[in-house]
């Protein structure tokens, strides 16, 4: 009714219901609505709703989570009921809904009674017995006894008689105020035992065989007389109804205990949400329908829609006598045997809860955790309220004072798969980024390395070569002639605007305003703590336009970093940032023959060291393709980074390879790149630094401006950051020059078999240098700069100790002659 009201009034509506068909509780009853059987009426309503284009009807769809800002998650099961689903159809779908208004009409769930042997097969909820018979035309047994504390369970008496099931009797905990329901049952020839309780259930492997009943004392705490046994194979029980307040509670509402109905009702709404019908504690059908229209109308008004008037259909009015809340039903007075289960999934019994209370676990949360009450997949939908009330009884309080445990998502369990959705598998979990030249690398059998999301060629093994051999060959070729590296993955950020240089000045440790157009400069950026965060070369493309490069893995972080400062701290700066990483492909050629090679391919570019010195760039054509050529080096050789538009990258690469043949051009991967730069003592941020390293620790004082301010500057003068004995970057040479230290090895001053051993530093980078003919390493060592020439040891996992000498971190061409050439 609520949906129809909203639809007719012109709202966009989603109706979500967890069952396979709409109708909720009406599906399992024989009640008449609007002059027809409930099921028929439901069908008509569904048809009417389906006519509205703005109404979306989701069955098999459970609202599993109600989050902040009226954000609801609906889990739709699409294929579970199909015997032969289309192969590409997703099994489940998660709807994420940001609703302006929510009407909760989630009904109520029947409560079991807590009595001896209430777990025997054949003991069922009364409503379940009705649903079997009325909705599915299946009888759960041949002879039935009903055990109840309220009127609603009397319906099953008539449903059973309709279905041809023999009803042996109704055992009603209530004594006085004989209700109309009891009379009706008696009229149908069913004995009603008022003021009685089931005291034991006898069963065999088939299930229930017989029950014992006894007369209750006035306070209901004991059984005063054994009444006799009744043969039956189904016992339908009803302990009243719990409104399904879960979503209301998830949205932030706090359910309140209603003494009359002995259950929790929704409390004050915190979000744009209202409950209606049984979930709001309204158990009369005709009133439910009226309230639903009211709830929808109120919701509509909240969003500025005038609700139309909708008439509700008539149903049979009936008044119910109040229930009798007897939370724990006494067992056989003579032979008290058997257990009274509260949580059917976790076998938590009434005795367990009382024991918990005796042992001092008195908060309902403690009881839950001590007894596992409500820890099952139903999260206590059946047992929790009974459990809380039993605890209240044990402590002499009211259930309202005990309160509930916290209602949390998921309302019913949801699969990993549904939540993860399509973001699974090799391709969709996390995007794979490939450079424009990727195809070529694959053709050449490159081994790849994951760097962030990128696939980078690691090394290019020739037949018969292992990683070590390949890397040595690649290094030597680059030092002796020319090597080629795909450097497209480096982060590239274009920085434009009047204050671009000012931004660079604040972000980097060195000065930028003096950089002239056409020149490049290396920069280090620090976090607020003064620790090295990222590095790269930035070039001045024109007056107010710079191209910043970052490390491959740090690109996104650096862009966020710059944006964060610009947007939150320096909004007065006129600077615009654009990520252009994917826009350009970068072919880097390095080695003594690189200039000759590039000269053979370029037009309109003067590559002479006078016009294009180290750390400068120019524009022109390479192999007929418009290019920016940067003379930057990470290998210590003369090197050029040729940037062309990404779609031309592969073609340029192939042309360079072709033209390089006479020079024996050799592609090299990240591994060789690492060796080449380590020979030169160039650090890799993230490998030789770990977030606790300052530029001073790296021996890079020269790049830290004393004059201007920059992020991290103040932190550098903190007592500990300015301390002399910090870990500093040094080189290591092993005593046995062929032994390569493992990266990550810890360094100690000498052998010791006791633990702990003081560690003086660790190895950050370590390789065998084919060029030098010995192994080299970079390390961070406490007070390392003062220990040049000294000795340290690296204890290995197998107990070996490697001896090494501390050296300068630059192993090759320390005067930088080669790259400037």
């Amino acid at each position: 009714m609520a949906a129809l009201t909203a639809a007719r009034s012109g709202a966009r509506v989603i109706v979500a219901d967890e069952q396979s068909e709409f109708g909720g509780g009406l599906l399992g009853t024989g009640i008449e609505v609007g002059g027809m059987v409930a099921r028929k009426w439901v069908q008509k309503m569904v048809e009417a709703l389906a006519k509205w284009p703005e109404v979306m009807m989701l069955s098999r769809s459970t609202v599993t989570g109600y989050h902040d800002h009226n954000f609801l998650v609906i889990n739709e099961r699409r294929t579970h009921h199909l015997s032969n689903p289309a192969s590409l159809m997703s099994r489940e779908r998660m709807w994420r809904v940001r609703a302006k208004q929510v009407v909760l009409a989630t009904g109520a769930i029947e409560r079991p009674l807590v009595f001896t042997d209430n777990d025997r097969p054949g003991v069922m909820l009364a409503s379940a017995v009705s649903v079997y018979m009325k909705r599915y035309a299946a009888v759960p047994g041949r002879s039935l006894v009903v055990f109840t504390n309220n009127d609603s369970a009397y319906r099953v008496v008539h449903d059973a008689i309709d279905a041809g099931v023999v009803v042996k009797g109704v055992v009603d905990l209530r004594d006085d105020g004989v209700s109309a329901a009891a009379d009706a049952a008696r009229c149908a020839g069913v004995p009603v035992y008022l003021g009685h309780a089931v005291t034991a259930v006898k069963s065999n492997f088939r299930g229930v065989k017989r029950i014992n009943i006894g007369r209750l004392s006035a306070d209901g705490r004991s059984v005063v007389a054994h009444k006799g046994a009744i043969e039956c194979d189904v016992l339908a029980m009803s302990g009243g109804w719990n409104p399904t307040v879960h979503l209301h509670a998830q949205s932030g509402g706090r359910p309140v205990f209603d003494e009359t109905n002995a259950c929790f009702f929704p409390g004050v709404s915190v979000q744009a949400e209202r409950s209606t019908g049984a979930c709001a504690g309204e158990f009369d059908l005709s009133l439910c329908l009226v309230r639903a229209v009211e709830a929808a109308s109120e919701a509509l008004r909240q969003v500025g829609i005038d609700p139309v008037t909708v008439d509700t259909p008539g149903t049979a009015q009936h008044s119910e006598a109040p229930l009798r809340a007897l939370w724990s039903i006494p067992g056989d007075p003579v032979m008290p045997r058997g257990k009274k289960f509260v949580d059917y999934q976790n076998d938590t019994t009434e005795a367990d809860i009382r024991l918990a209370a005796r042992e001092g676990y008195r908060s309902i949360e403690h009881v839950k955790r001590y007894t596992a009450l409500g820890f099952g997949t139903d999260q206590g939908k059946l047992g929790n309220v009974n459990g809380m009330a039993i605890l209240a009884d044990a402590l002499g309080q009211s259930p309202g004072a005990i309160g509930t445990t916290t209602y949390r998502p998921n309302y019913t369990p949801v699969t990993f798969g549904a939540i993860a959705g399509r973001a699974v598998g090799e391709v969709l979990f996390d995007p794979i980024r490939r450079t424009p030249m990727h195809e070529w690398h694959v053709e050449k059998g490159a081994a790849f390395e994951d760097v962030g999301q990128w696939k980078r060629p690691w090394y290019y093994p020739l037949p018969g070569e292992d990683r070590e051999k390949a890397v040595s060959r690649e290094c030597l070729a680059t030092r002796q002639s020319v090597g080629i590296l795909d450097a497209s993955t480096l982060g590239k950020i274009e920085i434009t605007g009047r204050d671009a240089a000012e931004l660079l000045d604040r972000i980097y440790t060195n000065a930028w305003k003096s950089l002239s157009v056409g020149r490049c400069r290396y920069g280090l950026m620090l976090g607020e703590d003064g620790m090295v965060m990222d590095d790269g070369v930035t070039s001045r493309l024109s007056e107010h336009r710079y191209l910043m490069t970052t490390t491959t893995g740090g690109a996104a972080h650096v862009l966020n970093w710059l944006e964060r400062w610009l947007q939150t701290e320096w909004p007065e700066l006129e600077v615009f940032l654009t990520s252009v990483t994917d826009r350009w492909s970068v072919t880097s050629i390095a080695g003594p023959k690189s200039r000759e090679l590039l000269e053979s391919l370029s037009e309109g570019i003067d590559l002479s060291p006078e016009t294009l010195p180290f750390m400068s760039f120019c524009e022109g054509h390479v192999a007929g393709i418009a290019a920016r050529v940067f003379r930057i080096s990470f290998s210590g050789e003369v090197a050029y980074e040729i940037n062309v538009s990404a779609d031309q990258g592969l073609s340029l690469w192939r042309t360079v390879m072709e033209a390089g043949k006479p020079f024996g051009i050799t592609p090299y991967g990240t591994d060789a790149m690492h060796v080449l730069r380590a020979e030169k003592g160039y650090v890799i941020v993230g490998q030789d630094t770990d977030g606790s390293v300052t530029p001073i620790d790296l021996g890079m004082d020269w790049i830290v401006s004393k004059k201007k301010d920059f992020i991290g500057k103040r932190s550098l003068s903190r007592a500990d950051t300015a301390r002399a004995n910090r870990k500093q970057l040094v080189g290591l040479k092993t005593e046995n020059s062929t032994v390569v230290l493992p990266e990550g090895a810890q360094l100690v001053n000498g052998f010791s078999s006791s633990r702990p051993v003081p560690m003086v530093g660790h190895v950050t980078s370590s390789y065998f240098s084919a060029t030098l003919g010995y192994s080299i390493a970079l390390a961070l060592i406490k007070g390392g700069r003062a220990r040049l020439g000294g000795t340290v040891y690296a204890p290995l996992l197998d107990g070996q100790l490697i001896k090494a000498t501390i050296t300068e971190p630059v192993f090759y061409d320390s005067d930088n002659v080669r790259q400037r050439d």
Binding site: H67, F71, E365, A372, F416, I419, A420, M531, G691
Partner: protein, 416 residues
């Protein structure tokens, strides 16, 4: 009463009617020598060690709700000491040693299970990082083992070795790591402390602090004023709130972290495993549910609930690591408030207010620290100065730059 097999037999004989209360809940006294604020694992452990190690028994633990109801009862229960840095590893290793004998010293079953913690790595640089960490652990006297792919295939056959976006190359294992039952830890400490005379006072929220001449005098609470010679704060996610009552601003932010539990399934995960290419860690409880989690939600909050995007990322990472999880159903998820510091390491020590001591900044790794934290905090409270093991965790380390940044991500609390 001491727990023992004989005791169980005896109690069964009297139909379990004679079990005493695990801890008594006395009315607060007007004043105590030491008042601990926060009845989580850390607060209760502190009280226990004050009484057992230092003979200080006129102690109260004030808890605003029910003991263990904060992060102690919300976490994913992973216990380990696989830290890298000098300031951290000795402390966590000491804590792990205490865990190893905890059930005996408390005479309470905390279900400590040393099933091993394996951190997977997926790249060369991650491997280097783990070698460094593993070596540091060994040098410190802890245990560590680098496992290659072949070994992992034997113990974690369910991982997606071949097809993963980020293939599993190996893992760093700490065999002595594992899990413990979080609630039982709180209850066990409470029981043991109670038996030594400590007052555990629940439903008692501290609402203000009285400070006289720069020294703590006592606390205003929802159950009246309680005088105190010394006060120890152990309130995790509420540290900044409590500190502000003393006029202090702490270098930390409060963030939400979620945890999840699946339906019970047959034994599948018999260690703790963490994914290295996304945020996901998982273990399996004795009941069969997978207990797992991932990263912070990312925004500052005191709300003990999380949102969907982080949940999605966690499920995605879980399935990337273990595709077999696809049809496993997640029953419930919840959140806890994390006291995230600027360097990701805790703060245990003195404050500018005389007699007021702080234990906080646990980020999302404080459960494993519970016994160690209580032990050093008790020492600090008793002696008025930090123990060697928590000397590095001083509050003023940030201004001096003595940061202990395991992850190396800098002073951004939500990245630790």
């Amino acid at each position: 009463m001491k727990h023992s097999a004989l005791q169980i037999f005896r109690q069964a004989w009297s139909s379990h009617r004679k079990w005493p209360r695990t801890w008594s809940s006395p009315e607060p006294k007007p004043a105590y020598d030491v008042v601990i604020v926060g009845g989580g694992g850390h607060g209760l452990a502190t009280a226990f060690y004050l009484a057992s190690e230092h003979g200080i028994r006129n102690v109260a633990v004030l808890e605003k709700g029910w003991i263990g109801g904060g992060n102690t009862g919300r976490n994913t229960t992973i216990v380990r000491s696989n830290y890298l840095l000098d300031g951290n590893e000795p402390f966590y290793e000491w804590s792990l040693k205490l865990w190893e004998g905890l059930e005996q010293s408390l005479n309470y079953n905390v279900m400590m299970s040393q099933r091993g913690v394996i951190n997977l790595f997926h790249s060369d640089s991650q491997r280097d990082g783990f070698i460094r960490r593993g070596n540091a652990m060994l040098m410190h006297g802890a245990d560590a083992k680098l496992m290659d792919r072949d070994e992992l295939e034997k113990v974690l056959p369910y991982l997606d070795f071949d097809n993963a976006r980020f293939p599993v190359l190996g893992g760093l294992c700490q065999p002595r790591g594992g899990t413990a039952r979080h609630d039982a830890v709180a209850w066990g400490f409470a029981r043991a402390a109670d038996q030594l005379g400590v007052d555990i006072i629940q439903n008692c929220e501290v609402t203000g602090m009285r400070i006289k001449d720069g020294a703590i005098d006592g606390l205003d609470t929802t159950r009246g004023f309680i005088g105190a010679g010394k006060v120890g704060l152990a309130v995790a996610g509420n540290s900044s709130r409590l500190a502000s009552m003393a006029g202090l601003r702490l270098p930390l932010e409060s963030h939400v972290l979620q945890a999840f539990v699946s339906e019970s399934i047959k034994p599948l995960v018999d260690t703790v495993v963490t994914f290295g290419a996304g945020h996901f860690y998982v273990s399996q409880s004795d009941k069969g549910g997978l207990v797992f989690g991932g990263d912070l939600d990312g925004y500052n909050s005191y709300a003990q609930r999380g949102n969907l995007p982080t949940a999605e990322h966690i499920m995605e990472s879980g399935m990337a690591m273990m595709p077999c999880l696809g049809r496993v159903r997640v029953v419930r998820h919840w959140g806890g408030v994390m006291d995230m510091t600027m360097d990701g390491s805790p703060i245990i020590g003195l404050t500018p207010v005389t007699g007021l001591y702080l234990n906080g900044g646990w980020c999302y790794g404080g459960f494993k620290a519970t016994p160690g934290s209580g032990w050093v905090f008790a020492y600090t409270l008793a002696r008025g100065e930090p123990h060697r093991l928590n000397a590095a965790y001083r509050l003023d380390r940030f201004s001096a730059g003595r940061i202990i940044d395991e992850k190396g991500v800098g002073p951004q609390p939500n990245l630790h």
